[in-house]
């Protein structure tokens, strides 16, 4: 195992490509292979966890923290998120209100870091790290400063926030889906509306997670799953064994992920040099 600080991708146990076996999950507009939804459905249905705390896009780019307890609720929350949901404070209320003892969290690398640090190093008596069973981090290139991003969409393209039905990533373009059609915006252009904090972030995959999930362009329709340790490995393999997940080896895409991770670190270094 490689130590975290010496490796851009963190500690890696295995790399898989996964796909949900459930047609219902695949039918929904999941980001890639639906493996995260499938894995957590497995954990919920086999009573490994009481609930999954995650973000659900409500309207436009905004989202909120929700607790999913069934496959249907998970599917509802699946898909890309484009702005960060201030999770930390709300997740605690959620966990306490709903009396959850074993929680799966689906989050971004920065949030995974917070939860991972809290679980490994419970500094405060009020910490709830012992209730967090699985941390699943999604690959992340940054989140939008969404007021700025929406303003840019309005000024340059005449798109109003309430019109936006969905946003998808397609190659080098960001597709804004509206009732009237699809607008493709070059990613490069959109990237200037990321949050400044994201521009100095060096973590692409979420090194503090149990399982990191995301997609690579060379394997459309599949979710890349990086397991960090035995704990994460058991979740992925368990879901496969119980027929929730179709798995194959993914070590050949590691290079592709590494390239993205390098891009993010290089961007972070460039921006840090300007900021400090």
């Amino acid at each position: 195992m490689m130590p975290i600080s010496e490796n851009l991708l963190g500690q890696i146990r295995s790399v898989y490509l996964g796909r949900a076996t459930d047609q219902e999950i695949l039918k929904r507009k999941v980001a890639s292979g639906g493996a995260v939804t499938a894995m957590l459905t497995y954990a919920l249905e086999k009573d490994l966890i009481d609930g999954v705390v995650t973000a659900k896009r409500t309207k436009g780019l905004e989202g909120e923290a929700i607790v999913a307890r069934t496959k249907e609720e998970l599917i509802e929350a699946a898909g890309n998120k484009w702005s960060i949901v201030p999770f930390a404070a709300r997740i605690k209320t959620k966990i306490e209100e709903e009396g959850l003892k074993r929680v799966g969290v689906v989050c971004l690398p920065c949030q995974a870091q917070f939860f991972g640090q809290m679980r490994d190093f419970p500094i405060l008596e009020t910490d709830f790290g012992n209730r967090i069973k699985y941390i699943v981090s999604l690959f992340c290139m940054g989140t939008f400063a969404f007021e700025a991003f929406l303003n840019y969409l309005r000024v340059k393209y005449g798109v109003r926030a309430e019109e936006i039905e969905d946003i998808k990533l397609s190659g080098d373009f960001l597709e804004i889906h509206r009732e009237t059609g699809v607008l493709a915006i070059p990613l490069k252009e959109a990237f200037s509306y990321l949050q400044t904090g994201c521009l100095v972030c060096s973590d692409y995959t979420g090194v503090w997670s149990d399982v990191s999930a995301g997609f690579v362009e060379s394997e459309p329709g599949w979710t890349v799953l990086i397991t960090r340790d035995q704990h994460g490995e058991e979740l992925v393999r368990g879901a496969e064994k119980e027929g929730y997940l179709e798995l194959r080896d993914g070590s050949h895409v590691l290079g592709e992920i590494l390239k993205k991770a390098r891009e993010k670190v290089a961007r972070a270094q460039r921006n840090m040099a300007q900021l400090f």
Binding site: S5, I84, P86, C110, D120, I123
Partner: protein, 226 residues
């Protein structure tokens, strides 16, 4: 495996950290041999230790403290400042002297102002589980996980003020809310998705700073405060 010889010495503090160490001890007994004879007569059981756990800040108006710290440094391979007072000054930073029972005590510093510290664990007080985790990773030799505490050992202050200065005012805050959740005194409130500090409530414990994903990532990456 032979037990780690651990010396615990407390200087000035509220005893919160000491209680935390005592609470952590039952689960650590198989791995460490904890010497707390300072409670009795100030002597030490052994001449050398693997780890010295220091709680409480160093009173700079008390020559005895400075000498004792130097002696501990010579005897211990690793020095850990446990709790915000020892690590970063904490609430002892507010001491101005003139208070009973020791009006002459008017300046307190974190331990690393006097001696080299290897790991600093902030928290007011850090939980027993935190100490257990520390030993787990320390014994496993997992330097990557302990890096944050190693970097913190090089710092003499961290607080909500630093968080606001380094992360919020530089525009690096992404509004995740980790700081609000981590503040033991409720000094941080998220207003318009950004933390706002209620200054008089900040006890300079540094918990928010090392819990901020952005700040802790930058610290671990750069090896120092951004």
């Amino acid at each position: 495996m032979e037990k780690l010889k651990v010396l615990h010495v407390d200087f000035a503090g509220c005893e919160g950290c000491n209680v935390s160490i005592i609470r952590a001890y039952p689960k650590l007994m198989d791995q460490i041999d904890l010497d707390i004879s300072y409670l009795q007569d100030g002597s030490c059981k052994y001449s050398e230790y693997d780890i010295a756990l220091i709680t409480g800040g160093a009173c700079m108006n008390e020559p005895r403290v400075v000498n004792e710290l130097k002696e501990i440094r010579e005897r211990a391979k690793i020095v850990v400042a446990f709790g915000s007072c020892a690590a970063l000054g904490g609430i002892l930073r507010f001491c101005r002297g003139g208070q009973a029972p020791r009006p002459d005590h008017r300046n307190f510093q974190p331990v690393n102002s006097v001696i080299h510290v290897d790991y600093s664990i902030p928290g007011c007080p850090p939980t027993p589980q935190m100490l257990q985790s520390f030993f787990k990773f320390f014994i496993a030799g997992n330097e990557a996980r302990l890096r944050l505490f190693k970097v913190t050992a090089g710092l003499k202050k961290l607080s909500g003020f630093d968080l606001v200065d380094d992360i919020v005012l530089t525009g690096l805050c992404i509004g995740c809310g980790a700081c609000e959740l981590s503040c033991p005194t409720g000094a941080i409130k998220l207003v318009e998705k950004r933390p706002t500090l209620i200054q008089e409530r900040c006890i300079r414990c540094g918990t928010c700073y090392i819990r901020c994903p952005r700040a802790s990532q930058l610290m671990c990456l750069g090896g120092e405060k951004p």
